[in-house]
């Protein structure tokens, strides 16, 4: 049984008024601002990549509502375990634009998350971090904290064994963890219907006796409200949930990918019509919460922020070779000390 798609703000920018009650104007503008900022950062990062000033990077274009909508319900003490297409979540939770440039730019230091944020480093192996999330939630529940754990993964992750094992555990122990899956229709070249035997992701929750929902992932209101509902259930009742956010990967899988090999422009055009930022802007403007002038300033301001981040990123310069060894163990064993000496001897003449 295909579950109903939850939608509040449709692609024409019309919202169900009853459903948005309780979302303050301030919050709406924050949603919009973070979506715009994320898109501008994303565009900039892609262009840096084309210029050889950035590493291989995933594009979050088109998934901003899913990203920002899932981040906003979290409280400071909650946890987030990211995968690799959630830059918008990270920005919303307080990770800096610069750190994300460093991360994608090939600097390990970009993986550092400041102590005041309960965010795990990005998990690149698809689905593995869902097990970690179950464990983080277990620890929180054991200590009787009212902490919620949120994870993000892609539609492809639902095929991995770790997805299955983690959801089973979360439900068995009734852990306060919300598994958000961004169904952006693609896992590299594989459309979801060839990835999974079910039509939707949310229906997989049946195998875990778990609550689930299927949401228009390009509708920031629906994403926000649904995630908020399940985050609160997790907080109050320690009850896990699986939330499918139906969205679309507008760009290539990464800058190393060429999506024209496996999909046509027409489908993308269809989805561009459903753009999460466009519809939000329409809504804000039509309901007189926003105007073109403000929009222009916002864009300017975001561009400036991003430019500054790029400057800071590019000022970082080279890594000391000894950095490579620093965090392998709490205390460095003999063989790493020997290897550091080797490296130092090799590179002592050079800048590095």
């Amino acid at each position: 049984m295909k579950p109903k798609l939850i939608q509040i703000l449709n692609e024409y920018g019309h919202a169900n008024i009853l459903q948005i009650e309780g979302i303050s104007d301030e919050l709406m503008l924050k949603m919009y601002r973070m979506m715009v900022l994320t898109r501008i950062w994303n565009g900039k990062a892609l262009s840096l990549q084309r210029q050889g000033r950035m590493g291989t990077i995933t594009s979050v274009h088109g998934q901003e509502a899913a990203n920002i909508g899932m981040a906003l319900p979290l409280e400071q003490t909650d946890w987030f375990l990211p995968s690799f297409r959630d830059q918008g979540v990270l920005f919303t939770l307080g990770v800096s634009l610069k750190d994300q440039l460093l991360f994608w730019g090939g600097y390990e230091q970009g993986m550092y998350i400041p102590e005041h944020l309960n965010i795990a480093p990005s998990c690149i192996t698809v689905g593995s971090h869902l097990c970690h999330a179950a464990g983080v939630a277990y620890a929180a529940k054991l200590r009787k904290e009212k902490t919620v754990v949120l994870t993000n993964s892609g539609d492809g992750s639902t095929s991995e064994g770790d997805f299955h094992e983690s959801l089973n555990m979360a439900s068995l122990f009734q852990l306060p963890v919300v598994f958000v899956v961004q169904n952006n229709h693609w896992a590299i070249s594989m459309p979801f219907e060839r990835q999974s035997a079910t039509e939707t992701i949310s229906e997989k929750a049946a195998a875990y006796n778990m609550e689930s929902a299927r949401v228009d992932g390009n509708d920031v209101f629906a994403v926000y409200k649904t995630v908020k509902k399940y985050v609160e259930l997790a907080r109050e009742k320690s009850q896990p949930a699986l939330i499918e956010l139906v969205t679309y990967r507008i760009g290539d899988h990464t800058t190393a990918d060429d999506a024209t090999r496996y999909r046509t422009k027409e489908v993308i055009d269809e989805w561009i019509k459903k753009d999460p930022i466009d519809r939000m802007k329409k809504f804000l403007v039509e309901t007189h919460r926003w105007d073109e002038q403000q929009d222009k300033s916002l864009i300017d301001e975001c561009m400036k922020q991003v430019e500054q981040a790029v400057k800071d990123y590019e000022a970082v310069g080279v890594i000391e070779p000894a950095e490579m060894f620093k965090y392998m163990y709490h205390e460095m064993p003999w063989h790493l000390k020997e290897e550091i000496d080797e490296v130092k001897a090799l590179y002592k003449g050079e800048d590095a």
Binding site: W79, E108, Q109, M111, Y112, I113, E115, A120, P121, C123, T125, S128, L130, C131, H132, A133, A134, G135, V136, A137, Y138, A139, A140, L142, R143, G161, D162, E165, S166, N168, M169, L172, K326, Y327, M328, Y329, H330, P333, W334, H335
Partner: protein, 325 residues
């Protein structure tokens, strides 16, 4: 002091650490009411409850993976994998995540976690119940690998492993679990990870062994002592990072070395130890280093098990060959 078997000493260490530190918890298959298939976790659930003695679903990737999450969030999980032969389903979690979280988070999330698993032959059970593949973990940067050979060591090393701020793979020689009882202090004590133990001194030849091989290595040493060859027997205790200093000092003295392990030979743990010794002691060596190991085969089932594993005779033979080189 009381006389304890190795499995009792392990259980003792878990009791002590769970009493002392609320953040220590045990998880795995059948670790609760059943007390673990080898009884390493008996009586824990009665004392600490099912929330800290967690019977997990039958899913090794999840056992290691959720332990990672627990360790990230303030706990000190001690995960049990029922047999080393079932640890590989958790290999991705171990290699890609447990070993790397400290590095990946630039020091923020060190993972104070232990993965315990019985290893090696000795229970004459089905396939996958006699593995000795510690090298797969020793070769992963970011992990520590500890293998005790006595009840005393098992307790002290396990306590150290639980207190270690990094992930420790703790492999227990199941053939020694109940072989004999020995005096084990009832209080808490630790044994330094990374330090080898000279189990027998001798000037003629060095034998390096660990875990299930120690009793036969010592027996071989006693045997050749009757013929006037004094072997120094090093119990490595920690496979990664192993105690290269103690080893090289001993070989500098004896000039001869036999390495004994249950694991298959090729690309096995002995290769690295031998290579380090050659690199450091080449001019002291009076003979090639001998390896007495399991063969490069699937660990045999019960009936052929004894043919595969090192025994006193094989070690004695290697000692004489090395002495006579």
């Amino acid at each position: 002091m009381a006389r304890k078997s190795m499995i009792q000493a392990i259980n003792d260490a878990l009791h002590i650490m769970m009493t002392e530190d609320e953040s220590v918890l045990v998880l795995g298959q059948d670790v609760g009411e059943d007390g673990g298939v080898f009884r390493a976790t008996v009586d824990l659930i009665e004392k600490y409850g099912p929330e800290r003695v967690v019977d997990m679903p039958l899913a090794e990737s999840l056992i290691v993976g959720s332990a990672i999450g627990m360790a990230m969030n303030g706990l000190k999980p001690v995960a049990e994998i029922q047999f080393m032969g079932f640890i590989y389903q958790g290999f991705d979690q171990t290699l890609c995540h447990a070993a790397r979280y400290r590095h990946r988070s630039r020091g923020r999330f060190g993972l104070p976690m232990v993965v315990r698993a019985p290893y090696g032959a000795g229970v004459r059970a089905l396939e996958h119940h006699s593995e000795s593949t510690e090298v797969h973990f020793a070769s992963v940067p970011g992990l520590k690998v500890v293998i005790p050979s006595t009840a005393y060591d098992a307790k002290g090393l396990l306590i150290s492993a639980i207190e270690d701020p990094d992930p420790v793979m703790f492999f227990e020689p199941k053939r020694l679990y109940r072989l004999k009882k020995e005096e084990v202090p009832s209080e808490k004590y630790t044994i330094t990870i990374g330090k080898a133990h000279i189990a027998r001194e001798g000037a003629d030849i060095t034998i390096i062994a660990w875990g299930g091989m120690m009793p036969i290595a010592l027996a071989a040493a006693e045997h050749v002592a009757d013929e006037g060859v004094e072997a120094e027997v090093i119990d490595l205790r920690t496979i990664q990072p192993f105690d290269v200093e103690t080893i090289t000092a001993s070989v500098a003295k004896t000039g001869r070395l036999v390495i004994v392990h249950e694991a298959p030979r090729l690309f096995g743990p002995g290769a690295e130890i031998a290579t380090q010794v050659y690199e450091r002691n080449l001019l002291h060596l009076l003979a090639p280093i001998a390896r007495v190991t399991g063969y490069d085969i699937v660990p045999p089932m019960a009936r052929a098990e004894d043919f595969n594993y090192p025994n006193r005779e094989k070690i004695v033979k290697a000692i004489y060959k090395t002495m006579e080189f």
